[in-house]
């Protein structure tokens, strides 16, 4: 108890709170801007923490972390351009809601869901960390494979036009994920001798091209008058009671999913958001609503991706294993001060651990503060004349595409994908399933091949291991849920199974 009060005393000093808020601010801004991610910010600012005390340094970085994950949703909602990968699912319902004139409500919902997810994740970290860490370790290649297959079954919820083109888009995305060095043998695939493609297609420029530039082309190719966005309800930033009632179970479920997936080494916020959206849409009685701008469609991914923060910290603090790329960077923040995350951390530096706990809670409210502010003021940005907004978006997209890898070549890549996505869209192939395939594809393949190597070629490994079997069953089960039933019942050829968009 003493330690707890000590920690609170440390954190609640003015300069500490300011550091946390600064981290939050940086995180939200960087998260919102396409091309730069929260993890990049953490990596850049890491050397700065060298000269601060361990607690101060960690507070700064831990302020950036959840802020960055939340921040991506702002651009996703306002511009249909995820500022960060975890916000990809938020575009599905966030942007339509904004187009209906309710951008403030959308960002407010995203903030609330992120806040709840974040707090839930931290709570799990405090209370059940060791248990969850052990569970996380039991995920090996077969389990990851089946989990990702389950993630792929989101296709039914994510395909906004019709199921057939949705499948095609997903397969295209899966193929995109294959570009680069093959994960098992390092054979170059589809790289055409370009050294820039050897590690695969970079995520930042890809998203900027597929979402940002393609959308820009759509806007400029349509009569410009259509760009006037109606602004209703600017005042209402906090979610209404109605919204909260509808979304409370969704947020809770999303938080649980997010924490668990965050804890898995190798799976992070993006996958958490995908799976949460899938489960929520899949279990809903009327899945057709998703994609039109329903609050649950925002609450599900946003609660999950922020919950993954707490989740990812679980294996980091208890075992010293990073649960995601960002936590891998955070290890450096500890090491620079001669501190090693792991069970000894709780023995040697228990005070620091509690500071982290309290700090995370403060950081959650911190970014929520900025979240509500941006809900109130963000949409105003869109009131500027379209002739100004579009160039501004364009330039930020370009700079973002460059910044991801400090490579001019990536700008060309983004343009290529933008043009390609535009034409594909004209033919009915929508973008979200492509990203789904791109994110999950490499994981599916790598884990499938590793699993078979482990079992010496025996495919029964997927059903003999309990967790793997559970994920497979979940995939099967969801096929029976309305989301699949209703779409398949109209026949695979039909495009009347389309989700009604405004």
């Amino acid at each position: 108890m003493d330690v707890l009060f000590n920690a609170m005393g440390q954190v609640f000093q003015p300069h500490m709170v300011l550091i946390i808020l600064l981290g939050n601010f940086i995180g939200v801004v960087v998260g919102a801007l396409p091309g730069i991610t929260g993890s990049m910010a953490i990596a850049i600012l890491l050397p700065l923490t060298f000269s601060m005390s361990a607690a101060e340094g960690l507070m700064l970085l831990l302020g950036i972390y959840p802020g960055g994950i939340f921040g991506g949703s702002i651009a996703a909602i306002l511009l249909n351009l995820p500022g960060d990968p975890p916000a990809v699912m938020t575009t599905l319902d966030g942007y339509p809601m904004a187009q209906k004139g309710e951008a403030g409500r959308a960002i407010g919902l995203s903030t609330t869901a992120s806040l709840i997810g974040s707090l839930f994740g931290v709570l799990c970290l405090i209370v059940i960390a060791p248990m969850l860490a052990k569970f996380a370790l039991s995920f090996g290649p077969p389990e990851f494979f089946t989990l990702c297959v389950f993630g792929l079954s989101s296709i039914a919820a994510v395909a906004t036009k019709d199921l057939l083109t949705g499948f095609v888009a997903c397969c295209l995305g899966l193929l995109l994920g294959e570009v680069g060095m093959d994960p098992v043998f390092s054979v170059q695939r589809f790289t055409f001798g370009q050294v820039e493609l050897q590690s695969g297609i970079p995520f930042g420029p890809l998203i900027i091209g597929l979402f940002g530039l393609a959308e820009l082309f759509r806007q400029t190719l349509g009569p410009l008058e259509k760009l006037e966005l109606r602004m209703k309800q600017i005042r209402k930033v906090f979610p209404s009671w109605e919204d909260m009632k509808k979304c409370s179970t969704v947020m809770l479920r999303g938080s649980i999913i997010g924490t668990i997936i965050g804890a898995l080494p190798g799976a992070g916020a993006t996958i958490a958001a995908i799976i949460s959206y899938n489960v929520t849409a899949g279990m809903d009685k009327d899945p057709k609503r998703f994609g039109t701008g329903v609050p649950e469609g925002i609450a599900a991914p946003e609660s999950a991706n922020n919950a993954s923060v707490g989740g990812a910290l679980i294996p980091l603090l208890t075992l010293g294993i990073p649960g995601s790329t960002i936590t891998a960077i955070l290890i450096g923040a500890f090491m620079v001060h001669d501190i090693y995350p792991g069970p000894l951390l709780f023995v040697k530096h228990l005070d620091l651990v509690y500071v982290i706990f309290i700090g995370l809670i403060v950081a959650s409210f911190g970014f929520a503060l900025f979240g509500f502010l941006s809900a109130r003021f963000g949409p105003l940005v869109l009131k500027a004349p379209p002739g100004v907004i579009i160039p501004m978006i364009a330039i930020f997209c370009l700079v973002g595409a460059y910044s991801a890898r400090e490579n001019v070549w990536d700008i060309g890549l983004a343009v290529f994908f933008g043009v390609a996505a535009y034409f594909m869209g004209e033919f009915g192939i929508s973008t979200p399933p492509i990203i789904l395939g791109y994110v999950l594809g490499p994981l599916v393949e790598e884990n499938f091949r590793s699993s078979l190597k482990l079992s010496g070629g025996d495919p029964s490994i997927f059903v003999t291991r309990p967790i793997s079997l559970v994920c497979l069953l979940l995939t099967v089960v969801i096929l029976f849920y309305p989301v699949w039933r209703k779409r398949l019942s109209k026949g695979i050829l039909s495009d009347r199974g389309a989700m009604d968009k405004l």
Partner: protein
């Protein structure tokens, strides 16, 4: 809304000119710095390894220390891709004026034999070697093999059945694995894991594989957590801060392999500048902070002058070439369009 009157046009012209000048100022001010004393403006350090990995950690410690020596900012530019391939290619093309340098791991010895790149360390001016992380073989804490000999025996009796986690072909971790195979005359069932920060060791802790190759740093946390232990470390002598781990060599297996970190400059960089850089980083490496870091990282400090570095890299070339060829990993060139 369009400009129409000529008065407006003139205003527009001046505004444009003024704005353009103001905007270009930051560029100008960097140009107007002293042209004589090197370094007169920030230096870019290229790295191909993402933040969070061992290389980035080394950089985050050594760079501020070197900045102090050079009295100039060093900007770390991360060009990820192809295990350093992109950053090395960029460095090769950079101007040899001392304002662009780079760091490399043993990747520089490996790429040219694998065919990913068609140049090696000779295309650069290596000016200092900084540290070295020897590989190691780890097993679960409750594994039945007490030492490396028993493990190898088991592997011999079960050819291609014992699963060992390594990275994908082309990384030093994987080559360390193959070197062990070659030195011991066994064949493992190699399971590839991608990326830094030891996902292989994590997999080992979860019991999904029988063993994992990882540097002492990568497995440190899990070793302290009591989940895994190291059977042998691939260095010449026991590590000063982890002296309880026997080396592979002393157990009868001639496996000495590490990933070393070397700083490079583009070929043609003037020797005077190379000397300045060398001195700066040398002093940085001699500082107490770096010392602490290396010890706590269970890493090995290394210091080589430019000449020694070149000799060292030549020897490494031979070593890696042999391992790669014996493992049959040598890629033919010409597969690219």
């Amino acid at each position: 809304m369009n400009a129409r009157i000529s008065g407006r046009n003139r205003k527009f012209f001046w505004a444009l000119l003024l704005a353009g000048i103001l905007v270009s100022l930051p560029v100008f001010d960097e140009c107007w710095a002293q042209k004589d004393a090197y370094p007169s403006r920030p230096i870019t350090l290229l790295t191909g390894w993402a933040a969070g990995g061992g290389t980035s950690l080394v950089l985050s410690i050594i760079t501020p220390l070197a900045e102090r020596q050079l009295k100039q900012q060093i900007v770390i530019s991360t060009k990820e891709g192809g295990s350093g391939a992109i950053s090395l290619t960029t460095l090769k093309r950079a101007k040899p004026d001392g304002y662009t340098i780079g760091i490399t791991t043993s990747a520089i010895n490996v790429h040219k034999f694998l065919g990913t790149l068609d140049f090696g360390y000779e295309a650069f001016e290596p000016f200092i070697a900084l540290n070295s992380d020897p590989g190691g073989i780890n097993v679960k804490i409750d594994a039945p093999w007490k030492n490396l000999k028993e493990f190898i025996e088991h592997a011999r009796k079960n050819p291609e059945k014992v699963s060992v986690a390594g990275s994908n072909p082309g990384s030093v971790t994987r080559l360390e694995l193959h070197r062990l195979e070659q030195a011991a005359g066994v064949l493992f069932n190699v399971i590839s894991f991608k990326g830094a920060a030891g996902p292989g060791v994590t997999s080992l802790a979860g019991g999904h594989v029988d063993a994992a190759i990882a540097t002492p740093l990568e497995s440190k946390a899990l070793r302290e957590a009591g989940k895994v232990r190291m059977l042998g470390v691939m260095s010449e002598e026991r590590l000063p801060h982890e002296s309880q781990i026997p080396t592979c060599k002393e157990q009868g297996f001639d496996v000495v392999m590490a990933t070393h970190r070397v700083l490079l400059a583009p070929k043609g960089t003037p020797p005077a500048i190379l000397k300045i850089l060398h001195e700066a980083f040398k002093k940085a490496a001699e500082s107490k902070e770096y010392d602490n870091f290396v010890k706590s990282q269970a890493s090995l400090k290394m210091y080589l002058t430019a000449e020694q570095t070149k000799e060292f890299l030549a020897k490494q070339d031979v070593l890696f070439k042999e391992v790669i060829e014996k493992a049959g990993l040598k890629l033919e060139k010409g597969k690219k369009k």
